[in-house]
């Protein structure tokens, strides 16, 4: 447990200093833990667990957009779990339940818990359609077609800088739409 969290902290530090591969690895590494916690939260609230992936994506977006509030000299896990807990509570409330989420839900992945495959998530995809055309095209190209920023720029006849701006704006407005729904 301790080792895992130290590894996360190290990866996040590299990510902040500009290593996108470290960032990618970190997000991959935390996702199963977030997923298990989301499923547990939904189960406890008597909600179907098939919505867990929407919550996971919501958490990942918040982690991304708020990562500047993480203090690089502090361990990463408490910050991550605080964000995740906040988003999980929000999601459960939106579904009409008032529940308490235990912070320990995130800290431990129960031994015998079967790893869950990526389930379908509908909310992000649905909001994607309502974004301005530019942002939607850029997100579509990078997310669904796995194109790089450079390829996307060439394909959409935009500068790389404009692609970066549209990408970030797109993620920000997606998050805002998810919050308001």
């Amino acid at each position: 447990m301790r080792e895992r969290e130290d590894e996360w902290t190290g990866l996040m530090r590299s990510a902040i200093s500009g290593e996108s591969t470290a960032y990618h690895r970190l997000l991959k590494a935390v996702t199963p833990v977030l997923r298990a916690a989301a499923r547990r939260g939904l189960t406890r609230a008597g909600q179907p667990v098939d919505q867990s992936e929407d919550i996971v994506q919501d958490i990942l977006l918040a982690v991304h957009l708020k990562r500047h509030t993480w203090d690089v000299s502090a361990p990463f896990a408490p910050w991550l779990f605080a964000i995740a807990r906040n988003k999980l509570i929000d999601a459960l409330r939106r579904r009409g339940r008032r529940v308490f989420v235990n912070i320990d839900d995130f800290a431990e992945v129960l031994p015998g818990e079967a790893p869950v495959e990526t389930a379908s998530a509908g909310e992000v995809a649905a909001q994607l359609a309502s974004l301005p055309a530019r942002q939607r095209d850029v997100l579509q190209s990078i997310a669904v077609e796995s194109a790089s920023i450079k390829d996307t720029a060439a394909k959409l006849a935009m500068s790389e800088g404009a692609v970066r701006v549209a990408l970030h704006r797109g993620l920000t407005s997606l998050t805002a739409k998810l919050r308001e729904q």
Binding site: E19, K28, L60, H64, I83, A143, R164, L167
Partner: protein, 212 residues
């Protein structure tokens, strides 16, 4: 979009660097301050006898109290903009202005007074104080909330309440230079009531605006 695709997209945006919350808050406050200053100088202005007043320690104490409130609230706001933070370890900062005020009241009690206590407490400007401080703090509160939206507070209403204290502290600093009531009893009553009002507005607005 499945989660792997989302992760890939977020990693592609890794180069984007957001400014620290403190920087965003400072910019927003600097943008809001001129509005309050304009309101202050067109409607109220500094009291004419300010040069004499400055020799009165109780006049000066008003600024110590209001600035201590503003600075403490800024520090607490920035602390609370981190999701894992709580008031523990930081909340006591907000007691500094209260402590200064209590010391001031004690000091005044020990001095011979020409005016009875209740008269000093009621002063001449209580209604103006209760109107001016909240109105002057509204532009600052709006700025503070815009700046703090950059953060990720776990308790948005609490963060909004502290933003309310911050803006009331700054607004009261302006108002204190206009008001001719210098008794710490007056400050403890009317400034506190005004601050409580702005704090409540901040909590309400924060619970909506500071969610992330």
């Amino acid at each position: 979009m499945d989660t792997d695709q989302l992760i890939k997209t977020l990693a592609a945006d890794n180069a984007h660097r957001a400014r620290p919350v403190g920087f965003a808050l400072m910019l927003a406050l600097m943008a809001a301050a001129p509005v309050s200053l304009l309101m202050f100088f067109t409607e109220l202005g500094i009291r004419p006898d300010v040069m004499t007043a400055m020799r009165n320690p109780f006049f000066d104490l008003k600024f110590a109290v209001t600035l201590a409130l503003a600075i403490a609230a800024i520090a607490v706001s920035l602390h609370l903009s981190r999701p894992e933070a709580s008031l523990r370890g930081f909340g006591w900062l907000l007691l500094i202005p209260a402590g200064l005020l209590t010391a001031g009241i004690g000091g005044e009690m020990m001095m011979p007074q020409r005016v009875p206590m209740m008269t000093r407490l009621m002063g001449n400007n209580s209604r103006m104080c209760m109107t001016a401080i909240p109105l002057l703090s509204l532009p600052i509160l709006a700025g503070a909330l815009i700046g703090l939206r950059h953060g990720a507070p776990a308790r948005p209403a609490l963060a909004g309440a502290i933003a309310g204290m911050l803006s009331a502290g700054l607004a009261a600093t302006l108002y204190a230079s206009h008001c001719t009531d210098d008794s710490p009893l007056f400050v403890a009553t009317w400034y506190t009531l005004s601050t409580a009002l702005v704090t409540a507005i901040g909590a309400l607005a924060g619970s909506k605006l500071l969610r992330f």
